[in-house]
């Protein structure tokens, strides 16, 4: 009798289980529908060390000169992980520009590790609020390191697709010009390289004022990106920009860079559907 009592109890529990399961399924299907039908594919920018969320304003002026106009949405993540936003994403804008900056924007291995964690918080916030399933990324200077570390540590390829990544003057081997001297950040990124998404297209842009550096970042340090990305991602292209506006901090104002972003990142989706 006691056994029968237990059996009845289990059957009852299983039947009751159907109600919360049905509710959970409804929520899942709803978010899957929104996710599936989302046409939003933002381009997310991360500035380098010591720069704030307005770092890309001049670049955006150049990029927004061509139609369609892209809305600009800026996020700053505080040291406690709180999010402050500026601007809006226009309803019909399928390719908005989003800047993710950090309150603690200092250089150094530990700071970059923290910034990578804050990037994860910002991306989670964006997906939750704007329901997109793919994006492209641009990182200036250390912004490129944060993107790379994020892709290796936090990026969930089952939920999200990254189309292209462009790093501009990114010091993959810190300020070291001799590739044999591996810095901590390089070792970190090199060790995790097999977790990079294999369908990603990467462009690494180096600026050179002379044959050795862009004034701050050694050319060899930008070039060290090949040890991380080559044979791990779908395409890895290295581009060198010289001449006027090719110093580290003026790279973002350089029309050549704006054109490279326009052709390889902004127009990526158009190319995809042609």
């Amino acid at each position: 009798m006691k056994t029968k009592h237990w059996i009845n109890l289990i059957i009852l529990a299983l039947i009751l289980l159907a109600f919360p399961a049905y509710n959970a399924m409804k929520t899942t299907v709803h978010s899957e529908r929104v996710w599936h039908n989302s046409r939003l594919s933002p381009i997310i920018f991360i500035p380098g060390s010591s720069a704030d969320q307005d770092r890309f304003d001049d670049l955006f002026k150049q990029l927004r000169a061509t139609k369609p106009r892209h809305s600009v949405f800026k996020i700053t993540v505080s040291t406690t992980g709180k999010i402050k936003t500026t601007g809006t994403i226009a309803t019909r804008d399928q390719e908005p520009f989003i800047v993710i900056a950090f309150q603690n924007n200092q250089d150094g291995y530990n700071n970059i590790a923290k910034q990578t964690h804050w990037l994860q918080i910002a991306i989670t916030y964006l997906i939750k609020n704007y329901n997109f399933n793919n994006f492209s990324a641009v990182g200036h200077s250390n912004g490129g390191l944060i993107w790379t570390w994020y892709l290796e540590k936090y990026f969930d390829r089952n939920n999200l697709t990254i189309n292209t990544l462009m790093t501009i003057g990114t010091p993959y081997n810190s300020l070291e010009s001799n590739p044999k001297n591996q810095t901590a950040i390089f070792r970190q990124l090199y060790q995790g390289r097999n977790r990079l998404p294999d369908n990603l297209i990467v462009y690494a842009i180096a600026g050179t004022k002379n044959y050795r550096s862009d004034g701050i970042v050694p050319y060899q340090s930008v070039e060290a990106g090949k040890y991380i990305y080559q044979n791990q991602v779908k395409k890895y292209t290295q581009i060198t920009v010289t001449g006027e506006g090719s110093t580290h901090s003026s790279l973002l104002d350089n029309p050549q860079i704006a054109r490279l972003i326009q052709e390889n990142v902004v127009e990526y989706l158009k190319k995809l559907f042609v």
Partner: protein, 375 residues
């Protein structure tokens, strides 16, 4: 004489299944926990919005379960040899274990070695051969040498896939071909019944076939299940209706056992079977190698699939399209897979009821036989 020997062999097999039943039960509960709680898409994790923080356990648990299952099979071989050889030589069982261990090593080309799980039939065959043939080999050292060589030969056979290549069901077909599906369902159930496919793992209900993916895409775009491109496909019929309670639609068997008042057995298995884990039931009743339960074991999923197909064709039920949570209870597979279509729930419950009705007379015969044997 032969009939007597065969009967004797089956009695020993049954009693060995009973010996390992408690560990099989533990293994099934561990699988249930892993599937529903340690999986980020697990049924309980999603249903009760549990924070998922078990990534390490999710990686480790399946490996531990695989090792546990290998140990269970080794122990099964050990016990079976002991019983078949009537405890004549203590080293016989050791030789069976030795052969099985060597045969189970899976040498991957990248040096990352894993363990291959031998099918129950192979364990039975080795145990029987060791028990019957090894007594003709005079010295223990020679017996160990023969065991080593036999293990090596089996390992080579296993590496070349000879033993595990069974006909599969093509998942690229967009429309259902009943003339191919029915024989293959019979073949698969028959292979499980005779121990060629181990029943430990649950059947995963994932949306991966082209037809199922096209249906999912259409359902998400149009936000309705009314005009799907491939309403009848392998996913909506085979994986959604042929495994209610695990392979052989054994949820019906559980209810049939409840009707004949095998309450202790039902209590131990009702939760597991509801979630699609029926290995303990298949070994304890037993269904495997039991000629009296072969017919319902094969017919039940076929009838269940027919009910599903009929309901979908007549538009009484919608086909399961959405990706359900890992470890969803069998009776909810279609209800949740259609995002709450009542017709599909009715079809599922009807399929379970029919399955119970199919199993019932055979279970009664089995109980009668058991009582006779006890007398």
């Amino acid at each position: 004489m032969f009939k007597f020997r065969y009967h004797n062999f089956l009695t020993i097999l049954r009693s060995t299944f009973q010996d390992i039943y408690p560990i099989i039960l533990i293994d099934a509960y561990l699988r249930l926990i892993n599937n529903t709680l340690f999986n980020p898409n697990g049924f309980f994790v999603k249903t009760f919005h549990l924070g998922w923080k078990y990534s390490t356990l999710n990686r480790l648990f399946p490996q531990l379960i695989n090792i546990l299952e290998l140990l269970i099979l080794l122990f099964f071989g050990y016990l079976l040899t002991q019983k078949l050889s009537q405890h004549s030589q203590p080293d016989f069982s050791f030789n069976t274990v030795l052969i099985l261990i060597i045969a189970s090593i899976n040498l991957a080309p990248d040096g990352h070695n894993t363990w291959y799980q031998p099918p129950i039939l192979l364990v039975i065959l080795i145990s029987w051969l060791v028990a019957k043939l090894f007594k003709k080999i005079p010295w223990p050292t020679l017996r160990v040498s023969v065991a080593l060589i036999a293990g090596f030969v089996l390992n080579q056979l296993q590496q070349s896939d000879v033993l595990i290549k069974l006909p599969g069901i093509s998942t690229s077909a967009r429309h259902i071909n009943w003339w191919a599906l029915v024989p293959l369902v019979i073949g698969r159930n028959l292979a499980t019944w005779c121990g060629l496919i181990n029943p430990f793992a649950e059947t995963k209900q994932t949306v991966t076939t082209p037809a199922a993916t096209a249906n999912l895409s259409a359902a998400l775009s149009h936000q309705s299940l009314s005009h799907l491109p491939f309403a009848l496909n392998l996913h909506s019929i085979y994986t959604s209706y042929a495994f209610l309670g695990g392979i052989g639609c054994t949820l019906g068997l559980v209810f049939a056992l409840l009707i004949v008042q095998k309450e202790q057995l039902v209590l131990q298995n009702i939760l597991l079977s509801s979630f699609g884990f029926n290995a303990p039931l298949l070994l304890r009743v037993p269904v495997l190698f039991n000629i009296r339960l072969l017919v319902p074991f094969i017919i039940s999923p076929l009838v269940s699939m027919l009910i599903g197909a009929l309901f979908i064709s007549l538009n009484w039920a919608q086909p399961a399209v959405y990706q359900i949570f890992a470890g969803t209870p069998s009776f909810l597979i279609n209800f949740l897979g259609t995002n709450g279509n009542w017709g599909s729930l009715v079809a599922t419950l009807l399929a379970i009821a029919c399955s119970t009705a199919i199993y019932l007379p055979f279970v009664k015969a089995e109980v009668k036989y058991e009582n006779q044997t006890l007398d």
